[in-house]
């Protein structure tokens, strides 16, 4: 698959690197803007536009997710929204899922990139649906904690600076959320996505955690999950290091810019259009997976 080329063109190396960085920045920007992370846009772009092997695209995406997670955390740190207790509880399952997913991709599916391409399709469609449907609640009604939450003391209070008040919350349906978190981990390691698109609803809609705490805690978790998955890919030799650099740096810068635009009204109106882009990517990935397009 190397050297790569943008849509089959023969560009000099520096131009290829620049093109990769710009495209990765675009994918990161869209992901940051929608709150999805860059992977959902990045992996299809690297495969369809640049002709990268999907295993490399997944690995590069995971490395980019680790950078994006750290960068986003630096940006939002002063808000103190990451719940370490809930994050650690869910992450203990997610990180296992992430490593299993990565191992699956580089062992049983090492020569079956077509299956990985096809596996991407339902994940992208579910992400598009969740984004479009917007099943998120800013501050869910307070619930009593379940058994696991009582044992691990999965509750807290955060300061809502928009309403200038302290908001208490407690986790419920923890086992269901844990199951979703494990699945999100497998999807992350297998497909190179951060998995926040599943973890945030798991915490927010299922556990009853306020949205802002769920988003910050999900960001904390996805960096660790991506790190574990990325290590499997990097150490096993799937990654060609030089090509990762423009992708990781571009995605990081793009995602940080995208996150800053999340609250702009015109951007919110663009959500429907961007969801269509995701669906189109899923269709093209499907056609690629079944061999209709090369």
């Amino acid at each position: 698959v190397f050297p790569v080329s943008l849509l089959g063109s023969s560009l000099p190396l520096w131009a290829e690197l620049l093109a990769l960085a710009l495209v990765a920045a675009g994918a990161g920007f869209l992901g940051g803007m929608l709150g999805l992370g860059g992977g959902l846009f990045l992996v299809p772009t690297l495969v369809l536009l640049f002709g990268f092997d999907i295993h490399f695209a997944i690995a590069a995406s995971l490395i980019s997710v680790t950078g994006t997670s750290s960068g986003a955390a630096v940006q939002s740190y002063q808000r103190r929204l990451t719940d370490l207790r809930i994050g650690t509880f869910l992450e203990s399952g997610t990180v296992l899922g992430g490593v299993l997913g990565a191992l699956l991709a580089i062992t049983l599916l090492r020569d079956r990139g077509d299956i990985l391409v096809l596996a991407f399709v339902p994940v992208v469609l579910i992400a598009a649906y969740l984004t479009f449907a917007g099943i998120r609640v800013d501050a869910p009604a307070a619930r009593a904690p379940d058994g696991i939450a009582r044992r691990l003391r999965l509750w807290g209070v955060y300061f809502d600076d928009r309403e200038s008040r302290r908001v208490p919350y407690a986790a419920s349906r923890s086992s269901a959320a844990f199951g979703i978190a494990v699945s999100a981990g497998v999807a992350s390691g297998l497909l190179g996505i951060g998995g926040g698109v599943f973890k945030v609803p798991a915490m927010n809609a299922v556990m009853g955690i306020p949205l802002r705490v769920a988003v910050a805690t999900s960001n904390y978790m996805l960096g660790i999950t991506a790190a574990a998955g990325a290590l499997v890919y990097v150490v096993s030799g799937v990654v060609v290091l030089g090509w990762v650099v423009p992708i990781a740096v571009g995605t990081l810068l793009g995602a940080l810019a995208g996150i800053r635009t999340q609250q702009l009204a015109p951007i919110r109106r663009l959500k429907g259009l961007l969801v269509l882009v995701l669906v189109a990517a899923a269709v093209v990935m499907f056609l690629r997976g079944i061999g209709v397009i090369a």
């Binding site: 490395i63 955390a73 910050a216 096993s236 290091l241 030089g242």
Partner: protein
């Protein structure tokens, strides 16, 4: 939901006064340390990776764009002439990957300090799986 319903609805968010009995100043100190680690980690990773690629292009040493894997895994030793760009990029990649893991390590340290055994065990499990992922990658 009353406070009595589950005993202690205190702030469990990262870096703040929390249910882990950390005094406020300590929480803020941890928060500052964590933020500094993230900032330094991401910046250092970016500089190392970009420096490695720039060096590779400038020296015409394009091994970093052509051979898969970490240097020792693809048969190239780090002492080999021309390995510097690969080494810089590799270090950058590992720093980038390791940076979010440092947050988990800081969380484990907090759980240890607050003698929260269950969360400490779960946090340690997370770190253990991250370490094992490297061994799994080497094994396949």
């Amino acid at each position: 939901m009353s406070r009595g319903a589950f005993d202690l609805p205190t702030d469990a968010t990262e870096g703040s006064a929390s249910s882990m009995s950390s005094p406020e100043f300590e929480g803020q100190r941890v928060q500052r340390v964590a933020r500094a680690v993230l900032l330094i980690g991401v910046s250092l990773a970016g500089v190392l990776m970009a420096g490695g690629v720039a060096l590779a292009v400038a020296e015409g040493d394009l091994a970093v764009f052509g051979s898969a894997g970490v240097p020792w895994h693809s048969g190239m030793t780090l002492a080999e002439p021309g390995a510097t760009p690969s080494l810089l990029v590799l270090l950058g990649v590992f720093v980038m990957i390791g940076t979010p893991v440092s947050r988990a390590a800081l969380a484990v340290a907090r759980f240890h300090r607050s003698r929260d055994r269950l969360l400490l065990a779960l946090g340690a499990l997370v770190l253990l799986v991250v370490v094992l992922s490297t061994l799994f990658g080497l094994a396949v």
